[in-house]
Structure formats: C-alpha cells, structure tokens
Subunit: 206 residues, 2 copies
Amino acid sequence: MDIYDAIFKRRDIRQFRPTPVSGEILHRVLDAAHHAASVGFMQPWNFIVIRDAGIRRQVKAMFERENARAMANYAGERRLLYESLKLEGILEAPLNLCVACDRSRGGKVLGRNTIVDTDLFSTCCAIQNLWLAARAEGIGVGWVSILDNDALSTILELPSNVVPVAYLCVGYPERFPDEPMLETVGWQKRIPVDELIFRDRYGCKG
Amino acid sequence: MDIYDAIFKRRDIRQFRPTPVSGEILHRVLDAAHHAASVGFMQPWNFIVIRDAGIRRQVKAMFERENARAMANYAGERRLLYESLKLEGILEAPLNLCVACDRSRGGKVLGRNTIVDTDLFSTCCAIQNLWLAARAEGIGVGWVSILDNDALSTILELPSNVVPVAYLCVGYPERFPDEPMLETVGWQKRIPVDELIFRDRYGCKG
C-alpha cells in the first residue's frame, strides 16, 4: 500500500470482526513498529500481545470505571452524545496489544541528556508505524486511552521501570470509515492544516 | 512509495544537500503529519517552519552548549567516538522544523481524562507520519534531541501553553544509508524484535 494511502486511510477502529490475525502478519506489523525512529537508537519499546480472556476482562472492567469518571465531565447533549460513542473493542477484537516503554533500557542514552522523555516519544513513533503497517494489511487499530495506567501495569505485571504507553485493540474492522468517527458524529472538526503552520516563530503566518 | 519501504528505509539524516524543498512538497508532508492519530481527535500539533538564518544560528549555539554537557557523560574510546559523530544539520539543511504541542488546545478532551500526556503522544504520531511521508518524497529528516527546550521556546516565541516536542532538520540528504548511523559506527546494535515481544504478561514468551 502506498504510504500516503496508509496515512490518509488510517482510522481509529472500535468495531472488529472476530477473524483472527495470523502470527505472520502480526510479526510483520510489530517489526514495522520496531523500525521506528528512536533517539540514540535506544529502541525502548516492548510489545505485549494479549489474547487471554481473563486479562482482557480485567482491562475492560477497569476501562468501565475510568469511563464513568470521564463521563462526569460532560452534561446535556454532549453527555448524551458521549454515552452513545463506542470507545473501545477490548473484548471483541481478536487481540489486544500493550506498547510499553522500558525507561531504563538506554541508561545514559545519546541524545537523552536534556530531554528525558525522548524514550516515550520514540515509543509513540513506533505506535504510528504499527498503525500504518496494520492499515496496509487491512487490519484496524484502536487506541484505548481511558485507562488507569497503574492498574494496567499491575494487570500486565510490568516491572517498575516499564510503563504502558498505548493499549490497542487490533483486528479486522467491520469497515474503515472515510473520516474519523468523532468528525462524523459532530464531536470535533478537522482543523485546516494551514492554521497550524507558522513561519520562523510561533504565530507568524505567510 | 510502499508503506513498508518507507518504514524500513527511513533514516535519521544529518548530512544534507542545499537543494531547497518546494512549498508544495513541504505542504504534502505537513498534511500527512496532520492526519496522524490524535486522542479525542484533538489535533494538538503546530508546525513552525524555520528558514531564518539568525534563528538557526541561535539554535545551533544552544545545541553546542547542550552537546558539551552531554559529552561529559562519556570517557575514553566512547568519548572519542561520540566526538566524531555528526548529530545535527541545523545550518546546512534547507529548513528546520519545530513540531510543537499546544497543551491547552483540547481542554477536557475525550480520552484524556486519565492520561494527560496523550496530547504529547499524539504529536509524536504526527512526527512519525511526517518522517515517513518525507522519506517517500526523497527528503531526509533528522531529530535534534540535544536541546534545551526552555531556551528553544524563548527563541521561537512559544506561548506558555505550547511546548516543543521535536526539532527537525529537513532536506534532501547526501544519501539514505542502509542502516542507522549509530549501528554502522558500532555505538548501538539493533535488538532482535522477538526479544521485545511478550505474550499476555510482561516477561512471558512463546
């Protein structure tokens, strides 16, 4: 698949078909993630592939607690709209994937002297690679961000030096919509890209 | 360009040719960045395109101060190797690019109730998109991470709610090497991807 096609047709997916993802395809997608940029070539990521139903039920229960808290931020129509949104596919997707960052892997890593979060940033670059490679394979990915990371770390038995960065639902989607779901339902519009570009200094246009 | 080609042939570039990057190509690359995943569709990024020589000289001087500090972490052969590395192309690249994150853009954004750094994570997804689209256009990108972000914010006149996430050198490279420079010079090896993959829980293999 062409790179621009993958970029423009990638979506956050929450509706999955039960069809399993083959080990071969999964490996290709994880290898794509592993070839992301990492500051000082530290490769700080780990990939935890979760199929176990018990673990997923624990994650789902934790999501529901957190989502109830999140919902309390909204009122009126916005609240009704929020309640109608499907925000995860933890149990339906054939697999879940936690992308974690080992914050001790690099030690004193080249390029990490001044900006300590470059390991987290590198891990996010890997996540975008994964998402695009999955798209090219016809596989959907949905990022579940309404989670308690401490609880997730306990469930997945992460050591203290490893933090979860993304919890992803992965599988063949019912479809790839033409635009983001939050745009379709009127939650949030796409910002015109030219509004986000400045010249030389913040706020300078042209 | 095929997505896997872009992913596997992307490199961190520090040696640039002076050939300018056209406005049309730059716009395509920034639009690819703008189509990254963002939690709650918050699109928290800004792109500051820096061509001004005075600003770049200020950034370069600041890099040199920070790099001197970073160098003090190494001794012996490792120090000599470090000193030999070219870590940026701030003045040679036809343009520099600061990808910043507006931490106030989303306000109470959907999906950001529990994990507040999802805006930074989304911005990093945009950076990886940008990097891959640039690769497909034959354009190299180098991430300069040895910087003082407070000083950079002052130079670029960022408001207090906007933080720099990446400072990138952008332009046609002398070449795209077959492997990362830090691998070639023996600084750091690529980790076999299978060592990074676990099943169901951290540390479980197979």
